[in-house]
């Protein structure tokens, strides 16, 4: 698609086409608003997704993030090492194209963590300026749009809900049944994971083909819901939305009236273009959204756009993902189906008898990737006194690999705590191929995160062993942070402009026509995968945007 003429002022420019940007594009275009979506990545679809493999998608990340560079360190006094750490998809449809699809509503208490648990040293806990009740209708709307499969009312510890899921749950594999049996023996309440993967033909999209390669991969039959398969085609069909792939925003400019004026971007040829818009929506995910604001320096905003609070880039969260594997006597069928089918939520609520606050959901994590399974040999050998301390190569390694069909797994989506120093800023040393300072991640775990992670690791092992697993063992979650792909925070939402970047409508406190609508707004991270909340919030903000359209001077 050709570039937009620079003299023209369009209604709305959306930067990023993932869960936030995709919903906004569809909702605004359908409401009669003219939208241009700038997407840094290229356009890929089912034909391309047939050619994916674990090495390209997960290990080298050449498939979805071919030219991405960032740097990372764990403390402010360290030098950051450049690389590709975060699990991102730079593609039309954003990271939601390669998401795992687990789709939860946050519980009401997850909107008021500070009130619920009180302040904790080293953490910047906060209440959300919105409540579960306010978001509830939009969760329902998102679930319908995405065709979530699940069983309403099956989780006694989940958020209260009025509506059923549009599709029935997926079937259980042998590994799911082992977890179910173990959980029931422990008097827990297992239930099917709600997933944005079609369990039957729905919404003009295919039923799941049970291919196993879901998290980290694009779906070759669009059974997995994403803006690529749902929102962007609908937006474009209105005739009022254009999507420009391979278009990388590098600066948002402001005019003398303190309004965002234009987006400077590099087109597919690397040539600089400028797009003027009356309203500008940033929706690039936590790292890239804060990075873009920080790059947009001006006399008025010398430390980055909309950053008068010095909060842009801060409180980056990425969940604490404890993982375990177990070995079954029978084949687990963990290479097949959607990415895990059964969950346990009994341990979710904060419990002051535990040595940490907050909690997590435990879900079945399938084991469909041979490289990933092979790399965990050390954990396997360490779990058994007979092999503990053995070198993780030679015959023990080769014998372990033969057990691949018998492996099952679990994961906890643990709420990690926001910390002001866990942040994105501009790397003073390293630049990418376009000469732009790369986003520098500074990230260190709070002791609460580690305690929570260890606790949930043990609960998973208890469940697996109660279910009859031959053995169960943990993999070391503490080495991972942004690899989770669950990127949240960096432009926290709040009522006080001194301590937050966005107001309750995800509009920046500083600049009236500038919005950040993705996962950046999260004040805290919740103990569930974040994406359904990103979708639901985008629907909520879109409603407001459309209601306010006259006052916003969009047209």
């Amino acid at each position: 698609m050709s570039a937009v003429k620079s003299s023209k002022v369009i209604d709305v420019c959306i930067i990023g086409s993932g869960a936030g940007g995709g919903v906004m594009a569809q909702q605004l275009a359908e409401a009669g608003i003219e939208v241009v979506v700038l997407e840094r990545g290229s356009e890929r679809g089912p034909a391309d997704f047939l050619k994916q493999d674990e090495l390209s998608n997960m290990i080298r990340q050449t498939f979805f993030a071919p030219d991405y560079l960032e740097s990372r360190r764990s403390a402010v006094n360290e030098k950051a090492v450049p690389g590709k750490y975060s699990l991102l998809a730079q593609t039309v449809g954003g990271s939601t194209v390669h998401w795992g699809s687990w789709s939860w509503r946050f519980r009401p208490d997850e909107f008021r963590v500070l009130s619920q648990d009180g302040a904790l040293a080293g953490a910047s806990l906060a209440d959300w300026p919105i409540s579960y009740e306010e978001l509830e209708p939009y969760y329902a709307k998102a679930e319908q749009a995405l065709g979530i499969s699940g069983a309403a009312g099956s989780n006694p510890f989940g958020a209260p809900r009025q509506s059923a899921y549009p599709n029935p749950p997926h079937v259980y594999r042998p590994a799911s049944r082992l977890i179910e049996s173990g959980a029931k023996k422990m008097d827990l309440h297992p239930f099917p994971i709600p997933m944005a993967i079609n369990s039957r033909v729905f919404g003009g999209r295919a039923k799941c083909m049970n291919g196993g390669l879901c998290a980290g991969f694009g779906c070759p039959v669009h059974a997995k819901a994403s803006p690529l398969s749902i929102h962007l085609p609908a937006a474009v069909a209105t005739g009022r939305c254009r999507v420009l792939p391979n278009s990388r925003a590098i600066e948002i400019t402001v005019d003398q009236n303190n309004r965002a004026r234009s987006v400077r971007y590099l087109d597919a040829q690397g040539k600089e273009q400028e797009l003027r818009a009356r309203q500008i929506i940033v929706a690039c995910s936590s790292i890239a959204s804060s990075h873009l604001l920080l790059l947009s320096k001006s006399a008025r905003y010398p430390t980055g756009l909309a950053n008068s609070s010095d909060q842009v880039g801060r409180n980056l969260m990425c969940h604490i993902l404890s993982q375990t594997n177990f070995e079954m006597a029978e084949p687990s069928n963990s290479i097949a189906g959607p990415p895990g089918n059964i969950a346990i939520d009994d341990f979710h609520a904060s419990d002051h008898a535990r040595e940490f606050i907050r909690g997590a959901v435990i879900g079945e994590a399938i084991e469909p990737m041979p490289i990933n399974a092979a790399l965990k040999v050390g954990n396997y050998l360490g779990a058994d006194p007979a092999t503990k301390g053995k070198r993780a190569w030679g015959k023990p390694l080769r014998e372990y690999l033969s057990k691949f069909p018998f492996l099952g797994g679990m994961i906890s989506i643990g709420e990690d705590l926001p910390q002001a120093n866990n942040r994105i800023d501009l790397d003073p040393e390293h630049r990418d191929a376009a000469g732009i300072a790369v986003p520098r991640i500074t990230h260190k775990r709070h002791p609460n995160d580690i305690a929570l992670g260890r606790y949930f690791e043990q609960r998973q092992i208890d469940i697996a062993l109660a279910g009859g697993a031959k053995k169960a063992w943990a993999t070391d979650f503490s080495q991972y942070s942004t690899e989770s792909g669950h990127l949240m925070g960096t432009c926290r939402m709040g009522n006080d402009p001194k301590t937050s970047v966005l107001n309750r409508w995800c509009r920046t406190h500083d600049v009236e026509n500038l919005w950040v609508i993705d996962g950046s707004f999260f004040p805290t991270s919740g103990g569930y995968n974040p994406t359904l909340t990103i979708f639901a919030n985008a629907y909520r903000v879109a409603d407001y945007f459309i209601r306010e359209v006259k006052r916003l001077e969009v047209r």
Binding site: R60, A373, F404
Partner: protein, 204 residues
Amino acid sequence: MSHIPIQEMTRRDFARFCGGAFATALAARPLTLLAAEQGSAPSTLTTVQWQTVAAICNQILPTLDGLGANEANCVNFIDKALAHEEKKSLAVYRHGLSVIDAFTNARWQQSFHALGDERQIETLEKLEDGLLPNWSSAEQSAWFATLRYHTLLGFAAAPHFGGNQNLAGWRAMNFPGHIHEMGGLSDAQVEGVEPITIHFPHHG
């Protein structure tokens, strides 16, 4: 990222650097594919280096039930990756191989690849523990970890990258290959009510 001196890095950083960040440093297109398609003759390693890497791979993943690193041709995966995605690791690779051979030549007057299993294993254990002479302990441990990592990639990655030859790696793990390329599975197969038949479509 190429200019970070190794001595400034911790062991884990080094392993990640060689195994992870290096791997992603280059182009969008997996150039290894092109090299791998051009055959399995050495493209970066000398004959002796190839033999040494192959022997190390074989000790890391020995043959069991007719399937191991040799059958998967893991050394070919590594050789092709060193030409492209892992290009910046090549000098480190060469250095490590020379230290290993210097050690075995001094001790047993033989190159590593010519030694029997026992001596090869003894050498690799010293390497993993950082005990070979004339090389920093952290660097040799990291070097071994990297080679082990690359061996696993060569064994279990899709065969078009030059390893997993004749699907030896996937057969060893009883992994049927990419289900999405085979038309998917039924719900009854996921449930275990009907078997998942593994037919390895490309090879026998």
